[in-house]
């Protein structure tokens, strides 16, 4: 599948800011399931800073904007060819030891309910891959998709107790549940093409990857009860949503920030 992306993020400030700095994880991962045809990232009026590939294999780029700043527009656009690898992150070059993802973060803290959910889900599982599938199914069943109930800072434990949430909450819950049974897991941010009619639509998405011995990292999307396939574009990973965020930024000054995100994703059948 060939997916065309146009992702525009705009920050506006009611009072101009002294300066702004961003760190962008906005580049499609290079692995056997994705081929980048073209890709471009720019920050309007910004100055490109250091660019590098981190230990987890993500391309990261720093940007800064000189003040006064009243608006920052970040555009990522391009075309990616994808194939279905049943969620397996094959051919991805990275160096981070999977064990390091067993460290807890605030968002993925394991409470009693998550621990119970995890332990019950893996009862009778044949191997780690089976355990990961069961955990993902359990999270899908325990948290119904419902926007507007949870916020950016909602933790996995809170989402589970609410029983409702969005993809971020599903991913956090799966990471926590996996860690509860000793499986390293991480947060993945990217895009999902989710319409059958091929029309452009809002499409930022998040899911989780679980590390399975002898296979490696395997993606699971509990929000859609499936593994990532050719409809998904993977950007980068981290311990939780904050760590894996495609855009992290800070603006110095006293202004109030407002955010607008527009993602258009189109499919071109070959």
């Amino acid at each position: 599948m060939i997916l065309t992306v146009n992702h525009v993020t705009t920050y506006q400030y009611d009072v101009p800011m002294r300066s702004a700095v961003q760190t962008l994880r906005l580049f499609p991962s290079r692995f056997d399931g994705q081929r980048i045809i073209r890709w471009d990232v720019s920050v309007e009026g910004g100055i490109r800073g250091g660019s590098f590939k981190d230990g987890a294999g993500d391309r990261i780029e720093g940007w800064s904007v000189r003040g006064p700043v009243s608006k920052v527009t970040i555009t990522a656009s391009g075309q990616v060819e994808t194939i279905d690898l049943a969620g397996v992150l094959r051919g991805h070059r990275e160096q981070v030891p999977p064990l390091s993802y067993l460290c807890e973060t605030t968002a993925t803290w394991v409470d009693d309910a998550l621990e119970t959910l995890a332990n019950e889900a893996v009862l009778g599982a044949e191997d780690d891959l089976d355990r990961a599938h069961r955990l993902s199914r359990a999270v899908s069943a325990a948290i119904a998709y419902k926007p507007g109930v949870t916020q950016a800072h909602t933790t996995a434990a809170e989402a589970l107790s609410l029983g409702e949430g969005v993809c971020q909450d599903h991913a956090h819950a799966l990471i926590a549940a996996a860690r509860a049974v000793g499986l390293p897991a991480r947060y993945v941010s990217g895009y999902l093409f989710a319409r059958d009619d091929g029309e452009p639509h809002e499409a930022t998405h998040a899911w989780a990857e679980v590390h399975v011995p002898n296979i490696g990292w395997v993606g699971f999307d509990p929000a859609n009860a499936c593994c990532p396939d050719q409809r998904y574009i993977r950007l980068g990973s981290g311990a939780d949503a904050r760590d894996a965020a495609p855009i992290k930024g800070i603006a110095l000054g006293v202004g109030e920030e407002s955010l607008d995100v527009a993602v258009a994703l189109e499919a071109t059948q070959q």
Partner: protein
């Protein structure tokens, strides 16, 4: 009754390093001594050296007592220590380069993976990044204690930002001012080359992108920090800027320092703030002490940070146990300096031993520092021991235990004359293009009679530390 090694007296005999000091103290009238002590205190106050040693907490404006009786090593004693310290500093750096790279030592089964990769001090953000010359810890402070003429043990390693070196320099300065005579009578190795050596070390790890004489700055959390005096003192001695996060910004892949003549590119940052506060975009988002975007510049090779983010994983108390193994694994040598035998409460059988022998052991928190969260068995009451037992049972992973060491003593001026008091030693090893160690260090002394705790927050003082020239 434990027999403590007295560094000056071997029975009735004066040991060699102190030979020339015996007459000095014997002939010093009590009034002169009191006058000199008052003078020393006044000097310290005037200089404003009133900070606590790293992580010790306590009142930042309190003066740490200075004891005028120097602690002395012979050239021979020092050379052996020096070899051991340098060896350890090399091994610790090799370990850091390895665990953020291929992790050979873990693959070889020499250290449990969990201890390294699930360690709070392990920074995932710097895996795969190689700092200039592959060095992570540029200033290694190694805390040593002595139990006999040739017996030294490493208490702990400090790979992040060990402080206290300004005491080493000031103690010497003040001693030379007050007692010029004894510096004429004894040939003592100078320590004042430290600032130059530190500057050389920092300059030698400038990033490859830096094509001129590197610009260096010390990054401080500010004057509320207990070691602020040391930050400004070292900046002064090296002739480099002392900056706070707000003085710096990133642009175009470099770090810039705001100056009256406009922005100046910074090549090497000697940071005296913790990893967590370096960059709100990479670490703690609420931190105002650091520089947003700094880690992106660092990881793309635009600036060097000393010590390198992530260096803390090598000086964790649980990792400490494996340092002798690191020496063998990376250097193929036998460790010259020994570790204190350590029981890990995380291991069931060792925890059992610890719980059965609490009255004889020193128990420490894995991440604790400054003599807090610590049990000195032989000096504790039954209640203290029992309450500590409960804590260990509750969270065994958080504790290690060591035998109560018979710390050596050196003569110390006390209320009514001179008496032996227990001491430790922190030398500062510099790791850059070369590995350098100035002959000396910070000697801390437990001023309370019988006390084995040398931390300044618990009644400890400091001494000038001499290495005699041949």
């Amino acid at each position: 009754m434990t027999n403590y090694f007295n560094e000056m007296y071997d029975g009735g005999k004066v040991r060699e390093p102190y030979a020339r000091l015996e007459g000095w103290t014997r002939d010093m009238p009590a009034e002169l001594r009191q006058m000199k002590q008052a003078e020393a205190e006044a000097l310290f106050r005037r200089i404003g050296i009133t900070f606590a040693v790293y992580g010790e907490g306590g009142d930042p404006d309190r003066l740490i007592p200075f004891d005028m009786f120097p602690r002395v090593f012979t050239q021979l004693e020092w050379r052996r220590l020096e070899r051991g310290i340098k060896q350890r500093a090399r091994a610790l750096n090799a370990f850091l380069l390895d665990v953020y790279g291929r992790g050979e030592i873990v693959r070889a089964g020499k250290i449990p993976a969990r201890l390294v990769y699930q360690n709070d001090a392990f920074e995932r953000a710097v895996t795969g990044f190689t700092p200039p010359r592959g060095i992570y810890s540029h200033i290694v402070g190694i805390d040593l204690v002595r139990t006999g003429p040739d017996e030294f043990y490493v208490l702990e390693d400090n790979c992040r930002t060990p402080s206290g070196v300004s005491y080493m320099l000031e103690n010497r300065e003040i001693m030379m001012r007050m007692f010029p005579q004894i510096f004429r009578e004894n040939r003592i190795e100078p320590v004042d080359g430290y600032a130059d050596a530190l500057r050389r070390t920092l300059a030698s790890v400038a990033p490859a992108k830096c094509e001129r004489e590197p610009t260096i700055a010390i990054l401080t959390p500010g004057h509320y920090n207990s070691a602020y005096y040391e930050h400004s003192f070292l900046a002064d001695l090296m002739g480099v800027e002392l900056v706070e996060g707000a003085d710096l910004f990133v642009e175009g892949g470099f770090v810039w320092m705001r100056t009256t003549e406009g922005p100046k590119k910074l090549d090497v940052i000697y940071r005296r703030i913790d990893d967590a506060y370096l960059d709100p975009l990479c670490f703690r988002p609420e931190s105002m002490l650091g520089v947003p975007g700094l880690m992106d510049v660092y990881r793309s090779g635009g600036v060097s940070i000393c010590s390198a983010p992530g260096a803390g994983v090598a000086d964790d108390k649980a990792v400490y146990t494996f340092v002798p193994e690191m020496v063998r694994f990376y250097l193929g040598e036998e460790p010259i300096l020994q570790n204190v035998p350590t029981w890990q409460c995380a291991k069931a059988d060792e925890c059992k031993y610890v719980l059965e022998n609490l009255g004889d052991l020193v128990v420490k928190e894995v991440h604790g520092s400054g003599g807090y969260g610590m049990l000195v068995g032989p000096k504790s009451t039954k209640e203290q021991i029992e309450s500590f037992r409960a804590k260990i049972v509750e969270d065994p992973d958080n504790y290690i235990a060591q035998p109560t060491l018979a710390l050596s003593t050196t003569p110390t001026f006390v209320e009514d004359g001179i008496a032996p008091r227990h001491v430790d030693l922190r030398p500062y090893c510099l790791v850059g293009e070369k590995i350098e160690l100035v002959p000396g260090g910070l000697t801390r002394v437990a001023l309370t009679e019988g006390s084995l705790v040398v931390n300044s927050s618990q009644g400890g003082g400091v001494k000038d530390t001499w290495v005699l020239a041949e």
